[in-house]
């Protein structure tokens, strides 16, 4: 097993939208590489369907967008950050259009916009129901044009630090099995979410929270981790996403009594209420016996007509036929909530900076926090492009005035020793059953509705799994394309994150946004209008600190739709 050391000024971990946008913003005079555990176009950004919010219309206003975002967050978003993002949104959309994004258009040639959950104005710009792919391909194409270096299929295992400053990362070159140290003056994490914590998720296999867990282990705090978004409409089975854009275009939700039940939960916005509210409504219908056998309700698109379905919702038309054998032009589609997005992540300020010197984070792996307790649909693509850019700007500035620190070679040795030890274990349990048990625990006990008893059971279960994991092992002792080894290490990341999410959920004795406690059904601004930050203490246990929520113009009010 070879050990290698490479050097760059700036490295970006993750080649999705946030990572690519960051890399494109890094000063071209600096050496820069993007590192990804998969090929660039495989990143989960390509799966985003519905849209990207921007107040483009002369009748619309970015301040209204900011207000909707803050209200949607159940007032946990830092308002200065939400304002920065929403004000920047039109520039982002024009820039992407200029670089080539093929947006859907109105008859007069302007970029088309549709309604989205919790938005007071139809401001989600879209490319049919494949907006993430359209935006991502544009950035990928720009990265090809500018010859951005991408280290493909490099799996990052740890951050290398010297005191309070970042020195680079240690990764596994998947093709060869070499342990590679990559020294850098600035490191940007854009590693995405952690949906593999849950059994029912819209996320891909690769979303295992690597960046969050690695930062946490290096002592960088994770913020707002108890807030996990469940998307209301996923196909039962594989939990393939059915875009909110379907409801934005006017689709209805029905229970088994053929009632448009959203009237009982959000009288005004109905099906386009924010995701936390619609997900809870669906779960309530199912729990109270008004769902269908197999735990789902129906999404009816038929009245939208064949033309709208096949043109503006072409992907989900294909998904319903492929995965359920259902043609949505003729039949309603079964849907159930599934994990979709982590509002929490690596704590950053509104310029993507963390407490570790030279270390930045953007996109889903970061918590700025613009999404607070509940992210509005079509705000995450925006988040990646706004804060990815800031990460690139700040990292460049930092490198121009800071020589960096020497890469600690023991960081490299630690990881190689770990892998060697792992490969020498015999007769150990594989990670598969442990990962599945973790995902089951999180789904049944740390899901849409939570209570102290089940959260405590979940914590106990996770601790047991952690013990089993310590003794578990791998089957593949080879070097090249050892996905067994990667799956094993990822499972360790997931266990750490599961503990943080569950502990935060247990401590937050209130209901806010996506965090719904049946034993504390109300929001409590007196005690909990704060962010929780978790980092490991010297004994490796969770230690919690608190941060106030930044309030600029919008006093917290009751949230009604």
């Amino acid at each position: 097993m070879a050990e290698i050391l490479q050097r760059y000024d700036v490295i970006v971990i993750g080649a999705g939208l946030a990572g690519m946008r960051a890399a494109l913003e890094v000063d071209p005079r600096l050496s820069c590489a993007v590192i990804s555990k998969v090929y660039p176009v495989r990143s989960h950004s390509v799966a985003a369907q519905g849209g990207i919010n921007a107040a483009l219309d002369p009748e619309d206003n970015w301040k209204d967008h900011a207000f909707d975002t803050i209200k949607g967050s159940d007032y946990l978003a830092d308002q200065d950050a939400a304002e920065l993002m929403c004000e920047d949104a039109p520039r982002v959309v024009y820039e992407m259009e200029h670089w080539g994004t093929f947006f859907s258009r109105r008859p007069d040639g302007r970029i088309a916009q549709r309604s989205f959950g919790g938005q007071g104005y139809p401001r989600a710009c879209y490319a049919a129901d494949k907006t993430g792919r359209a935006l991502y391909q544009t950035l990928f194409e720009q990265s090809v044009r500018r010859n951005i270096t991408v280290l493909k299929e490099f799996f990052v295992m740890s951050l290398a630090t010297v005191e309070d400053q970042v020195a680079g990362v240690v990764c596994l070159e998947i093709r060869t099995g070499a342990v590679v140290g990559i020294a850098a003056k600035a490191v940007i994490f854009a590693t995405g979410g952690a949906g593999m914590l849950y059994l029912r998720t819209t996320n891909p296999y690769i979303n295992t929270g690597d960046g969050m867990a690695i930062a946490y282990r290096a002592g960088v705090a994770l913020k707002d981790m108890e807030f996990v978004q469940f998307h209301p409409t996923t196909l039962p089975g594989m939990n393939v996403l059915i875009t909110e854009g379907a409801r934005g275009e006017g689709a209805y939700l029905y229970n088994r009594d053929h009632e448009r039940f959203m009237v009982n939960y959000a009288e005004k916005l109905m099906e386009v209420a924010p995701r936390d509210i619609v997900s809870r409504a669906i779960e309530t219908e199912i729990n109270q016996g008004r769902g269908f056998d197999g735990g789902y309700v129906l999404l009816d698109l038929r009245h939208l007509g064949e033309n709208v379905i096949k043109h503006r919702l072409s992907e989900i038309y294909d998904f319903a036929i492929t995965y359920k054998g259902i043609n949505p032009v003729q039949e309603p589609v079964p849907v159930q909530p599934g994990q979709h997005y982590m509002m929490g992540g690596i704590a950053t300020n509104k310029y993507a900076e963390t407490t570790l010197v030279g270390f930045y984070a953007a996109g889903e792996c970061a918590a700025v926090s613009v999404h607070g307790a509940n992210r509005l649909g079509a705000n995450s693509l925006l988040d990646t492009l706004v804060f990815g850019r800031w990460a690139g700007i700040q990292a460049s500035k930092f490198v121009q005035s800071n020589p960096g620190v020497e890469f600690p070679t023991e960081a490299l040795r630690t990881q190689s020793a770990l892998i060697r030890e792992l490969k020498s274990r015999h007769g150990a349990e594989p990670y598969g059953p442990i990962r599945r048990a973790l995902r089951e625990t999180m789904t049944t006990k740390v899901g849409t509705f939570r209570d102290a008893e089940r959260l405590r059971q979940a914590l106990d279960a996770i601790e047991e799994l952690e013990e089993r994991y310590q003794r578990a092992g791998i089957h593949d002792r080879g070097d090249i394309f050892n996905y067994d080894l990667i799956g094993f290490i990822e499972t360790g990341f997931l266990i750490d994150l599961g503990k943080v999410v569950t502990t935060g959920a247990l401590m937050r004795q209130e209901s806010r946004g996506a965090h719904a406690r049946t034993d504390y059904p109300h929001r409590d601004d007196q005690k909990f209008l704060i962010h929780y930050l978790f980092s490991p203490n010297s004994r490796g246990q969770l230690s919690k600190t608190e941060e106030p929520v930044v309030i600029t113009h919008y006093e917290p009010k009751e949230r009604k739709y």
């Binding site: 998969v38 090929y39 176009v41 495989r42 990143s43 989960h44 390509v46 799966a47 483009l56 024009y94 820039e95 259009e97 200029h98 670089w99 080539g100 093929f102 258009r105 008859p107 007069d108 040639g109 302007r110 970029i111 490319a127 049919a128 494949k130 792919r133 391909q137 544009t138 194409e141 720009q142 044009r145 891909p204 296999y205 690769i206 594989m238 393939v240 996403l241 043109h311 992907e315 294909d318 998904f319 492929t322 995965y323 359920k324 594989p430 990670y431 598969g432 059953p433 599945r436 791998i474 089957h475 593949d476 080879g478 070097d479 090249i480 394309f481 050892n482 996905y483 067994d484 799956g487």
Partner: protein
């Protein structure tokens, strides 16, 4: 739902330990609707951790898990196990064609990407235009809009590359994916890249090598009419670039 057991017959090869490839057989319990990818994941997580294949989104949008299943290149996440069983109730799984295998179902994608880079795959702006500070309008007839939108659906899965008989015989041919990407920009009214791209397209190994067998169109998991796009490029090269870049 009715569970049943099927056998996965999987192409295995480890360049370090195996002299040549071999078939491995794995029993897998399946339910109707289960995709091939789910079966492979169960094998890796529960039976044999050393089985190498790429996978990510599980829903046919990231393009990671293309492989030859029951004789044809397909996405493992979009192919139902019960639809591809042979008479022995086996699912036969092999690596993609026209790219060399590295380990098990993992292929070396390098030639594919290099050809994609050759077509200058980005929107070439009018060199005189400035970045917009307001909205740029674009009006297109619905059919032209749909052609570009459809061509943009490419997920880089390499299935067309694996199924193309010309790629099989001539490793220098650009291949269907690079060509449909070129079409996506050539058809876009905002693009000004034709002179640059014609050097690669209007060439012996470019559009003129395509023999319109329609394998790409038939196999594309996103339903992109690739051959139609390539034919449009041929017509374009005749009118705007005849004689440029070598010709035939």
């Amino acid at each position: 739902m009715a569970e049943s057991t099927v056998t996965f017959r999987v192409f295995r090869y480890n360049p370090v330990t195996d002299e040549k490839p071999y078939w491995a057989l794995y029993p897998v319990t399946v339910e109707p609707g289960d995709p091939v990818l789910m079966g492979l994941m169960r094998i890796r997580e529960e039976q044999d951790g050393s089985l190498a294949f790429r996978a990510s989104c599980r829903s046919g949008i990231c393009g990671s898990d293309a492989m030859v299943i029951a004789g044809r290149s397909r996405l493992a996440c979009k192919t139902q196990i019960l639809h591809v069983l042979n008479a022995q109730r086996e699912v036969v799984v092999e690596p993609l064609r026209n790219l060399s295998y590295v380990k098990d179902l993992v292929v070396d994608q390098t030639p594919f990407w290099e050809k994609f880079y050759q077509v200058d795959p980005w929107l070439h702006e009018d060199p005189l235009s400035k970045p917009p500070t307001t909205e740029r309008l674009m009006q297109l007839p619905e059919s032209e809009f749909d052609d570009i939108s459809k061509a943009s659906d490419c997920i880089f899965c390499q299935i067309c590359y694996s199924e193309c008989p010309v790629n099989g015989m001539d490793r220098a041919f650009l291949g269907p994916q690079a060509l449909i990407k070129a079409f996506r920009f050539e058809a876009d009214p905002r693009d000004h890249g034709t002179p640059d791209r014609a050097r690669t397209l209007n060439n012996q190994e470019g559009v003129w090598k395509c023999r319109t067998t329609f394998n790409c169109t038939l196999s594309c998991p996103k339903g992109i009419p690739i051959t139609k796009g390539i034919q449009a490029l041929k017509r374009e090269m005749l009118t705007v670039g005849l004689g440029r870049g070598g010709g035939v």
